[in-house]
């Protein structure tokens, strides 16, 4: 009896931003974007409906003391066996995070309505924002691997396209590609975990994996559990910018401020933490994975705390400050302090959103005050003053160069990969031309491709 209103509310909550995306994307496709005012009103309305529906579902679930519930809406892809199922895992954590996501995006929509007024990409921004919130809600409520993956991918693509929002300049576009490449690592790791899960346990149900009552309800051998958990940690690390993937975070600041706020201050950066939180029962069965998560979380927190002190722009500084907290949340989850982790996550998401959105005004006020007083504001002094001068300088360099993480990844992965792929391209061309030499005097025979 309780499942029916819950199911309806969840459907309305997830469906509302999806409908918004359909309307806005359809208008874009036929090159008839809606007027700014309509877009803003529709976005705010859609987020309000989604938030209200999910909050109501949370109240219903709380009032009726409903435990974790798997809402199955049948097979989406087929009326026969073997289709892709639509399933949502509903509990206080998923509904709470879903409602929080809708509320935060609602606030950002209202802010963006004025902030991006007359911006050429105004309509595109809202298309991507609606795609993002749909993805976030699917990640929050996913009951099986397919739904989780759909949400994960939507969040990744919308994020990359918003980093490249100002797409008539080369830097945002190059950075967007970089961000997307790290997200693809995350996607691949998560899907590999899913493939392994299906192979070893024969299921793709997250309700079973996440263990409704605190322990996986499926039999996984210790090595399988460890490998799956480690793959999930890699997915989380790439999505939440944990070490060694932190290099993409400052690059992602190329997007408009509201999107930076919602993605890298508030929601997207916490999506990995939320997934890890949901996987806590699996993590509990793998000491090695827990140790890895603790190490990654602590190292990321320490690195981000250093990096945030030397950033020259407020958005990057705030993003690294957010990363510090994300590292600590990961540690809390790995230690099994799940309630603290959830409260930390929700509180931090709201607080950092406020900081990001108010940062331009605060800076403006600060500059005004400095001009009036004719002196610079005093700089905050941290614990680094306790360090010897030599160490302080080394740490400063490390922080300034953002841990040399991009260089390390380039040297370890990107450069060898591209070099090998180019060699293979040359080999393919040579192989073909060995059989059929091209006549380079003919324009039609000239190879237009170059390998660099």
């Amino acid at each position: 009896m309780i499942a029916l209103p819950l199911a309806s509310l969840v459907l309305v909550g997830v469906g509302s931003p999806l409908v918004l995306f359909g309307i806005l994307a359809g208008a874009s496709l036929v090159n008839r974007p809606l007027p700014e005012r309509w877009t803003g009103v529709l976005a705010a309305g859609s987020m309000t409906v989604a938030c209200a529906a999910l909050a109501s579902a949370l109240v219903v679930a709380g009032a009726t003391r409903t435990g974790p519930l798997l809402l199955s809406f049948g097979s989406w892809s087929s009326s026969r066996d073997g289709g892709i199922g639509i399933e949502f895992l509903v509990d206080r954590a998923s509904l709470g995070f879903g409602a929080l996501s809708a509320a935060i995006v609602g606030v950002v929509s209202a802010f963006s309505y004025r902030y991006l007024h007359r911006e050429p990409g105004y309509h595109r921004y809202f298309v991507l924002l609606s795609l993002f919130v749909t993805g976030m809600l699917l990640v929050a409520l996913a009951g099986n691997v397919e739904v989780l993956f759909v949400g994960w991918e939507l969040v990744g693509l919308s994020s990359a396209l918003l980093v490249g929002f100002f797409h008539d300049r080369p830097a945002p576009v190059a950075n967007a590609l970089r961000v997307f490449s790290v997200y693809r690592v995350s996607d691949a790791a998560m899907l590999s975990a899913a493939v392994l899960l299906r192979h070893t346990a024969g299921t793709d149900s997250l309700a079973l994996l996440f263990g409704a009552r605190g322990a996986p309800a499926i039999a996984l051998t210790a090595p399988s559990a460890t490998v799956i958990a480690i793959l999930l940690i890699v997915a989380v690390a790439a999505k939440s910018a944990l070490l060694p993937f932190s290099g993409w975070l400052p690059r992602a600041m190329e997007g408009p401020t509201p999107s930076s706020a919602v993605y890298y201050g508030s929601l997207s950066i916490h999506a990995g933490c939320f997934l890890l939180l949901r996987s806590a029962p699996l993590l509990a069965h793998s000491p090695a994975a827990r140790a890895l998560a603790v190490a990654l979380g602590l190292a990321t927190a320490a690195f981000a705390a250093l990096a945030t002190r030397v950033q020259s722009d407020v958005k990057s500084s705030l993003a690294y400050a957010a990363l510090t907290q994300v590292g600590l949340i990961v540690v809390e989850i790995a230690l099994g302090w799940n309630t603290i982790a959830f409260v930390h996550l929700a509180g931090h998401a709201c607080f950092r959103l406020l900081q990001f959105l108010s940062a331009p005004n605060v800076l403006h006020d600060l500059h005004g005050m400095e001009e009036t007083l004719q002196e610079r504001s005093p700089r905050a002094v941290g614990l680094e003053v306790l360090l010897p001068d030599r160490w302080r300088r080394r740490l400063y360099l490390l922080a300034l160069e953002r841990g040399f993480l991009d260089n390390l990844l380039d040297r370890a992965i990107v450069t060898p990969f591209t070099a090998a792929a180019r060699r293979l391209t040359r080999f393919d061309t040579a192989l073909c031309e060995a059989v059929l030499p091209a006549d380079r005097t003919l324009a039609s025979d000239r190879t237009v491709a170059r390998d660099d």
Partner: protein, 463 residues
């Protein structure tokens, strides 16, 4: 009209009528309008054939040893969905071919090629398929008359494939061949012919070269229907040993990852398209491993999605090339604001190629992975890797071709916008890929039924 033969006759008449019409002194642009109309009518007729519950078969035993003969012409679960693919590709070709590349002979050849593809999808006879392969090769070579290197590539690689196919068919239909080593040898030879035709590793090198030189339009029209996959489904899958099918699947998966990785570093948009094509089309053969009906159905869906999405993507490149000249991926070209629909279409079709959620490609790849994961988990990991790499390659192409600069040319008077015909064709293709991705049930059900038919035929022939 519930008789599929009527609709089939209408579908076949359309390209035939255009072939005849090209012989009359009609203005080329007007001829194109007729061709677009005929292609729309053919598409409607083939969709009607696909949705009708009836199947038809004209069987003949003169050309085969199979008990009860073989269907020279048949419409069943497998072929019915492929017919709209052939019609759709023709429509795409005639609707968006740039005006500068449009000529009477070209329109005639595209109609003829469509007719040959349609006929290929309607038969399961090895001999008829061989004859159609020869006809198809001839039309393809004829389309490349001004492009020496491209023509030689086609003649050498596809000529070899067709010759091997001929040898295989001769062995297959030889008297008393069934159950002997002739039979096995025939299947291996046909398998090599199919791998060569589809550009599967290690026979892949010619595909990027083909796309990179000369005319892209005929290369798309010839490659996208993937008649090589059809050869494999009709002739190899029912008869081949599990070992041969597993070998084909492993080679296909290797090709998929290899093509995706190399697409990522190309500097020519055309060449990147070539690698994307071999990567995605290889997944069709991976599904033919027959580990499960789900995986097989997934492969059949990827066939449609990769065919449509790739053809659309490559056509976007061609349309863009007609406006800007050679497209170098090592630079940013910008111009999103002048061609937003083309940019959105390119991105959507690219994402459909990679199996992005919400597109038909996702459904196919998901079925492929979930169907094969128990018996052949390597397939799952390989598809994950290929999908990750192709996604990155597509986004790189998108950023390079449409972003990164304020505008491309100083002359703002130059016309960059799509024509209405081009715009509606791309919109229709995008809506199809997303529509079938959001509501895939009828298609998935029909592909699962087709998988059952293939597996039944396989178990029947292996008894």
């Amino acid at each position: 009209m519930t008789d599929p033969r009527v609709w089939l006759a209408i579908a076949a008449t359309m390209p035939a009528a255009i072939i005849l019409l090209t012989l009359a002194p009609v203005d080329v642009e007007r001829l194109r309008r007729f061709a677009v109309g005929a292609a729309v009518a053919m598409l409607a007729a083939t969709i009607e054939v696909a949705t009708l519950p009836h199947t038809i078969a004209i069987r003949e035993s003169a050309l085969t040893w199979a008990a009860g003969g073989e269907a020279l012409l048949r419409v069943d679960g497998l072929s019915s969905v492929l017919l709209p693919l052939a019609a759709g590709l023709w429509l795409l070709t005639v609707a968006v071919t740039p005006r500068a590349s449009l000529d009477r002979a070209g329109l005639r050849r595209t109609a003829l090629a469509t007719l040959v593809t349609l006929a290929s999808f309607l038969t399961e006879s090895a001999v008829v398929l061989l004859a159609l392969s020869v006809a198809s090769l001839w039309t393809f070579i004829a389309a490349l008359d001004a492009h020496n290197y491209q023509r030689r590539i086609v003649a050498a690689y596809l000529g070899t494939s067709t010759a091997l196919f001929g040898v295989g068919v001769a062995l297959l239909i030889a008297p008393h061949a069934r159950g002997t080593w002739w039979d096995t040898a025939a299947l291996w030879i046909i398998a090599v012919a199919a791998l060569l035709r589809k550009g599967i590793f290690p026979f892949h090198a010619w595909v990027p070269e083909l796309f990179d030189h000369g005319r892209l339009g005929p290369a798309i029209l010839y490659s996208a229907p993937q008649v090589g996959a059809y050869m494999a489904v009709v002739l190899i899958v029912p008869r081949a040993s599990p070992e041969l099918l597993r070998l084909i699947a492993i080679l296909a998966l290797a090709t998929s990852v290899y093509g995706a990785a190399l697409a990522l570093v190309q500097t020519s948009a055309r060449r990147a398209c070539g690698y994307l094509f071999i990567s995605q089309s290889a997944l069709v053969l991976a599904g033919l491993d027959c580990t499960s009906r789900g995986a097989l159905a997934g492969g059949l869906i990827v066939w449609l999605s990769a065919g449509l999405a790739f053809a659309g993507l490559a056509r976007c490149v061609l349309v863009l090339e007609a406006r800007r000249g050679h497209l170098d991926l090592s630079a940013y070209h910008g111009g999103y604001d002048r061609t937003p629909l083309l940019a959105i279409s390119f991105l959507t079709m690219g994402l459909a190629c990679t199996g992005f959620p919400g597109t038909l490609g996702f459904v196919g790849q998901e079925l492929l992975v979930s169907g094969a994961v128990d018996a052949f988990p390597v397939m799952g990991f390989a598809i994950v890797a290929a999908s990750a790499l192709t996604g990155l390659a597509v986004l790189r192409m998108y950023f390079s071709l449409f972003c990164g600069r304020r505008d491309v040319f100083a002359h703002s008077a130059l016309r960059f916008e799509l024509t209405r015909r081009e715009a509606w064709t791309f919109i229709a293709l995008v809506v199809t890929l997303i529509g079938l991705g959001i509501a895939p049930r009828p298609l998935v059900d029909s592909r699962l039924a087709a998988s059952d038919t293939i597996l039944k035929m396989r178990s029947f022939l292996h008894q």
